[in-house]
């Protein structure tokens, strides 16, 4: 069966659109934002208590107008490679839709070229790991168009650590130990009762 030429052309065009709206690749983004955060290299912060102050601005060495499509800035907390090792649920994938490097949102703000700052108290459900901070600039279609991060391209400098809460409480500890002991004691009780039945 012959496929009409027009159909082929239309489908080719459509596939191009599909290609662009299908997903953004991290390697296609430019590092046009300069991001800094208060934790120093190797500093250990406590979840639920300590704060991180993030500042970001547009890197003026890029041509003017590069940032015309930037609508919102999304700041995220990202895993460093050492915390991704042997943990495929934190894997870095170039296609940003599937990327799991930066699951923790810090803040989202409308874009402004300079004078941006935000202080964030590390939330209590952040796990213990080594992190850096990354900012994504997204356009009106909610697609990433640029980024900036506190570390270098190899994600090896300026990394900091977060120590998570344990989730344990004294009341839980006491309850679990008491009930465990109770199980063993009642077992001893059972044996005693059986022995007595045997003697009767």
């Amino acid at each position: 069966m012959e496929v009409p030429a027009s159909f082929v052309v239309v489908s080719l065009l459509l596939s191009c659109f599909v290609g662009t709206s299908y997903g953004v690749y991290f390697s296609s983004l430019n590092k046009t934002l300069i991001v800094t955060a208060t934790p120093k290299q190797g500093q250990v912060l406590k979840a639920g208590e300590d704060k991180i102050t993030v500042t970001w601005r547009f890197n003026k060495t890029y041509p003017a107008g590069t940032d015309s499509s930037y609508k919102t800035i999304k700041i995220k907390l990202c895993y460093a490679p050492v915390s991704q090792k042997d943990r495929s649920w934190r894997k870095t994938v170039d296609l940003l839709k599937k990327d799991k490097t930066c699951p923790h949102k810090i803040v989202a703000r409308p874009y402004a070229a300079s004078n941006n700052t935000f202080t964030w108290t590390i939330e209590r459900d952040i796990p213990s790991a080594v992190y850096f901070v990354r900012a994504f600039a997204v356009n009106a279609e909610d697609q990433q168009v640029a980024y900036g991060q506190t570390t270098d391209a190899h994600k090896s400098t300026n990394l900091f650590e977060v120590q998570a809460i344990t989730g344990r409480h004294v009341s839980l500890d006491v309850a679990s130990i008491c009930f465990s002991a109770f199980s063993i004691v009642s077992l001893a009780g059972f044996f005693y009762m059986e022995k007595r039945k045997g003697k009767k």
């Binding site: 649920w89 679990s176 009930f179 059972f190 039945k197």
Partner: protein
């Protein structure tokens, strides 16, 4: 073939019709009459609770792995630990049932492992996580007490059904927990407002309490045998307190126990392995989200509602016409098909195809488990517990082996691992060809002429023991197992004139 009703000795009245050992010859699911049906309900509910506890961690792993800083290796090792503890615990449980009775043996084990579930709440490191999963996994040995108890309460004509239903509905816990634990967790996290890392800990109280309460129920409401508990029967002399070494010896020298231990590793063992890996498989290969992967994983375990009992019922139905040979043939065919479906599962590239094959595969592999325990009660009467324990333990060995060979590290992709596991299932199932009962036959050979059930079961006792009358239970059992000859075997000679039966291995 006549079944003797309880017209003889005791003045005991039972709610269900019974045979000469007072085992029920009928299975009434919706009754809780003591002692038979009550034992059934107590055993499947307590076994269910042990499964819920043992597999309570997997559905909550996305939160636990962040809280305890686990790596993929830690998670894999904990999964293997969870099923390896029960390997020896099941054999030990078999022995304990033979010596102390299923009521005390199972309630003791459940209470001994409940602390492991309670202490999961305070786990704070990968090592602690491994330990609690390891010790909690010991509770899966209650499988043996379940099967032993059913074999003590139900007559050969319904024992496959009883074993299949109690085993299957217990295994259901492995599927139910994938739905229960996330639900409890979200209730605590969202409605009560605890943080994630506290909510999962509190959620573990549910399986822990459930387990503890089922142990109490067994102790206070259950009874070892239709006529009473071991302790009372031994005192009155109705039951002889057997010697551990003899019981153990007769179990390990019976080659049929070893064969079924191997093949059970490739139906039940495979089921446990799939419980551990299937959610991740669907999540990674077909990119479904975690919730969907969890539901698919749950449906594999939930098929146990009817598939394992179906295997047990099928075993009994086939035995009516074809006796033990029918039971063995059906087991061999069903488990072979299970292996073939496993091979196929790894090869299918579409999501809907995979789910469909997985569901059919679950039915066959679980039915094979039910069919296996349609044969186990007949391998030995004296050492029923240890044989059940060996077979059950073999199941867990299969789970450890398949996970270590095919699903650890990155030697094989998960789909290749699944297909290769299917090949291994088919190869290991071939040994069923070697099982031979002199009084009933095997897959390809008929029974030996002139050999009776008494010859087989009484060969487990020495002449001295027989003189003291210790073998009475085996005598009654031999009579009741006559129906395993099937319809054709009705004309085979009965042991009316024999005095000293020959010894058989």
């Amino acid at each position: 073939m006549e079944i003797s009703q309880n017209t003889n000795t005791t003045d005991r009245k039972f709610a269900l019709p019974v045979d000469s050992e007072h085992k029920s010859t009928e299975f009434r699911l919706f009754s809780i009459a003591s002692p038979h049906m009550r034992a059934f309900h107590l055993s499947w509910i307590s076994f269910f609770s042990c499964f819920v506890s043992t597999f309570a961690a997997p559905p909550l792993l996305p939160i636990i792995r962040d809280n305890l800083n686990l790596t993929a290796t830690d998670i894999g090792n904990a999964g293997i630990a969870a099923v390896s503890g029960a390997v020896f615990a099941r054999v030990a449980m078999g022995t304990a049932c033979d010596l102390f009775g299923p009521r005390l043996a199972s309630s003791s084990l459940i209470l001994l492992t409940a602390p492991a579930v309670f202490l999961s709440l305070i786990a704070n490191s990968p090592a602690a996580f491994l330990m609690v999963r390891f010790f909690t996994g010991f509770s899966l040995a209650t499988f043996v007490s379940t099967q032993f108890w059913m074999s003590s309460m139900f007559s050969p004509n319904v024992v496959g059904t009883a074993n299949g239903l109690s085993g299957g509905w217990g295994n259901l816990g492995g599927g139910a927990t994938q739905l229960i634990m996330p639900l409890v967790y979200s209730l605590i996290h969202t409605n009560i407002g605890s943080t994630k890392f506290t909510a999962w800990r509190v959620a573990f109280f549910i399986p822990a309490f459930f387990q503890m309460l089922s142990a109490y129920a067994i102790f206070f409401l259950g009874q070892d045998m239709p006529d009473g508990n071991y302790v009372r029967l031994e005192k009155s002399g109705e039951k002889h307190k057997d010697s551990f070494s003899q019981v153990f010896y007769h179990a390990i020298t019976n080659y049929r126990g070893w064969i079924l231990a191997l093949t059970y590793g490739y139906c039940f063992g495979v089921e446990l392995t799939i419980d551990n890996i299937i959610a991740q498989y669907f999540y990674d290969r077909f990119n479904v989200n975690l919730h969907t992967a969890g539901i698919i994983a749950a449906s594999f375990g939930l098929a146990n509602l009817f598939s394992r009992p179906g295997g047990g019922i099928l075993s009994d139905v086939v035995a009516k016409r074809f006796g033990m040979r029918g039971r063995l043939w059906t087991l061999w065919i069903v488990q072979m098909i299970g292996g073939l479906l496993c091979l196929l599962l790894g090869k299918i590239g579409s999501l809907s195809g995979s789910v469909a094959v997985m569901l059919v595969f679950s039915v066959f592999v679980q039915a094979a488990c039910g069919l296996t325990f349609g044969v186990v009660p007949f391998i030995s009467r004296r050492s029923l517990g240890v044989i059940s324990g060996m077979t059950g333990g073999g199941g867990n060995v299969g789970a450890v082996l398949t996970q270590v060979i095919f699903f650890r590290g990155s030697r094989y992709s998960t789909e290749d691992g699944i297909s290769l596991m299917g090949v291994m299932i088919m190869c290991c199932t071939l040994v069923i060809l070697l099982i031979y009962f002199p009084q009933w036959g095997g897959l390809f050979c008929g029974p030996r002429k002139g050999v009776t059930e008494e010859d087989y079961y009484l060969s487990e006792w020495t002449t001295a023991e027989k003189e003291q009358g210790f073998h009475k239970m085996s005598l009654k059992f031999s009579e009741n197992s006559r129906r395993e000859r099937g319809k054709k075997g009705e004309s085979v000679p009965l042991p009316s004139d024999k005095e000293t039966p020959s010894t058989f291995v």
